[in-house]
């Protein structure tokens, strides 16, 4: 049977990237996984409108909205962070996700799916552990939904 505790997972678990609070974040959400009682808070800071967040290489997959939108659209995540208590899968997924979303537009991150998370983790995740794997993404997306709502520019 394939092992879910592969080196890259354990590496992100024991040396999490971007772990810590981000002050005055543009995007913030805190949630818990009722199955395990795990808790997570996701943070993101956006690049200034018009700038590319210093990472233009990733912009091509940014949800395909045209540039004639308002200044709130297609804003790019400059930095993401998290604090969490949970199992190795949920922690590693959070750590990897914060790296993955840097330089992506909020729309592109909002459109990410569970399959994208599986592709990122590169391990076989059982049905029972899917909730752990997607906890960070779901939480970040909930934060983005709040951001959309408060800025009311999306899909106008």
């Amino acid at each position: 049977m394939a092992d879910i505790y592969q080196e890259h997972i354990l590496d992100h678990y024991s040396r999490p990237r971007n772990k810590g609070v981000i002050d005055s974040p543009d995007i913030y959400y805190k949630d818990s996984n009722p199955l395990c009682g795990d808790e997570i808070a996701m943070y993101a800071k956006l690049a200034k409108p018009g700038s590319d967040g210093g990472n233009s290489g990733n912009r091509s997959d940014s949800g395909g909205r045209s540039d004639d939108g308002g200044v709130m659209e297609n804003r790019v995540i400059a930095k993401a962070g998290f604090i969490a208590r949970g199992c190795a899968i949920s922690q590693a997924a959070a750590s990897m996700l914060t790296e993955r979303v840097e330089g992506k537009s909020v729309e592109a991150v909002y459109a990410m799916s569970a399959d994208d998370v599986l592709g990122m983790l590169m391990i076989p995740v059982s049905h029972a552990r899917m909730k752990c794997a997607v906890l960070a993404l779901k939480t970040l997306q909930a934060g983005i939904a709040v951001y959309f709502k408060t800025n009311k520019t999306r899909g106008a």
Binding site: M1, D3, I4, Y5, L10, Y13, S14, L35, C36, G37, D38, E39, R85, G86, C87, A88, I89, R129, C132
Partner: protein, 411 residues
């Protein structure tokens, strides 16, 4: 130990459980999640099969041969369940499980409560014995109180007594904690409850399957348990109630089989216990449950209890001799051992043990308030039954070495 106590031979009993021959990841299954549900012996599986193959029919209705046989077997299961806990036939109601039994009480008794009446529970209750009371209390404006659990995993009896007032109508407590294995002094509690004029309910989901339980000896008013946690099928459970109380209570589910006479204007309910069993019941489940009770009786509940106590004492001693393992709960406990390994999450412990063919539970065990009281988000839990052996405990402990290896310094 009692002079007459038969020692249970787990090795030879294992032959009765087909599933124990299964391999998981090429390794023999070691099933240590018995507090969640138990495996079934061929006697139980056979009884269910026999019903479906030879006398499947509805009960209490037909005047034909099959229906008579099915009715006899269904009622025989009631007799067995009642005898098993020292109750009368009419005091045992079949439900779906412990959860439904407690919901029946919450609706039937709880809805009679008035504003500012009180319900007393403890901090170690399973969500099944907490959420129904909490929600009904909200509806009627009653208050739910929680007797404190001490650091060593016991209900603080001073706090228990101090939490009882003249407004306390119902007290509902787990006989055995599904997280800590604590055996609560329900007999003493029943007396305190009755001295105060309160009703006393026992959540016996983790006790009836594992030790001798007699409702008259405890002196409780109600007691609930599930067949699937005692070798029987899922979907069948028991609510015991003192007959005077059941007589005066309003049913919770209405329909067929629970009535004596129906006119367009009114209904006279059937006699006990059928008054509380509306609709076609889980007949095959009841028959399988009866076979499970026969199986346990044959072994003897004293023997089951002492076997599990030996295993859990051995397991906790071995776990405590390992580095960085914390075991929760009191020293004297039933066959349930909850623990954590350093800062490693219980899910990770369970997932790695699964690779070794060992099934344990990791998580909050449907007792989130207790977890937060213990200051943890979850624990790993090994829970034993009559077919578990010392060798299996040894495998558990040595496999924890693999967990430590995978997580390197984190253990």
């Amino acid at each position: 130990m009692d002079a007459g106590l038969k020692l249970l031979n787990a090795e030879s009993l294992r032959a009765d459980f087909p599933i124990l021959r299964r391999k998981i990841n090429g390794k023999p299954l070691i099933y240590l999640d018995n507090a969640a549900t138990t495996q079934k012996p061929r006697q139980v599986i056979g009884a269910v099969r026999d019903y479906y193959e030879n006398y499947n029919a509805n009960v209490h209705r037909g005047i034909h041969r099959l229906s008579e046989e099915a009715t006899d077997a269904y009622e025989a299961a009631h007799v067995k369940a009642a005898k098993f806990i020292g109750a009368d036939f009419k005091e045992v109601i079949f439900t779906k499980n412990t959860t439904e039994s407690i919901n029946l009480l919450a609706y039937s008794l709880g809805l009679q409560l008035r504003k500012d009446d009180e319900i007393l529970l403890s901090e170690m209750e399973h969500h099944s014995n907490l959420v129904p009371w909490q929600q009904i209390a909200k509806k009627v404006g009653a208050k739910v109180m929680y007797a404190k659990v001490s650091a060593d995993g016991l209900i603080d009896m001073d706090d228990f007594s101090a939490s009882i007032s003249s407004r306390t109508r119902i007290i509902s407590i787990a006989h055995v904690s599904n997280v800590l294995g604590t055996i609560n002094p329900v007999r003493e509690m029943a007396k305190i409850a009755h001295d105060n004029g309160s009703l006393f309910v026992v959540d016996a989901a983790q006790s009836v399957p594992h030790m001798p339980v007699d409702v008259r000896q405890i002196g409780c008013d109600f007691l609930a348990f599930s067949s699937h946690k005692m070798l029987g099928p899922t979907g069948i459970g028991v609510l015991y109630g003192r007959s005077e109380l059941l007589d005066s209570m309003q049913p919770f589910i209405y329909g067929g089989d629970m009535i004596r006479e129906v006119t367009f204007g009114d209904t006279r309910f059937n006699e006990l216990p059928w008054k509380f069993e509306a609709g076609t019941p889980n007949i095959s489940g009841a028959i399988g449950f009866g076979a499970a009770i026969d199986y346990l009786k044959n072994i003897g509940m004293e023997s089951v209890f002492s076997h599990e106590q030996r295993l859990s004492r051995y397991a906790s001693d071995r776990l405590l001799s390992e580095p960085e393992i914390k075991v929760y709960g009191p020293k004297e406990r039933a066959g349930i051992v909850s623990f954590n390994m350093g800062s490693i999450h219980a899910h990770d412990v369970a997932a790695i043990l699964d690779q070794e063919g060992i099934a344990i539970r990791g998580g909050h065990h449907c007792a989130m308030p207790l977890m937060s009281k213990l200051g943890i988000s979850g624990s790993a839990r090994a829970s034993f039954y009559l077919y578990n052996t010392k060798d299996e405990v040894d495998s558990l402990v040595s496999s924890l070495g693999r967990v430590r290896k995978v997580f390197g310094g984190k253990g």
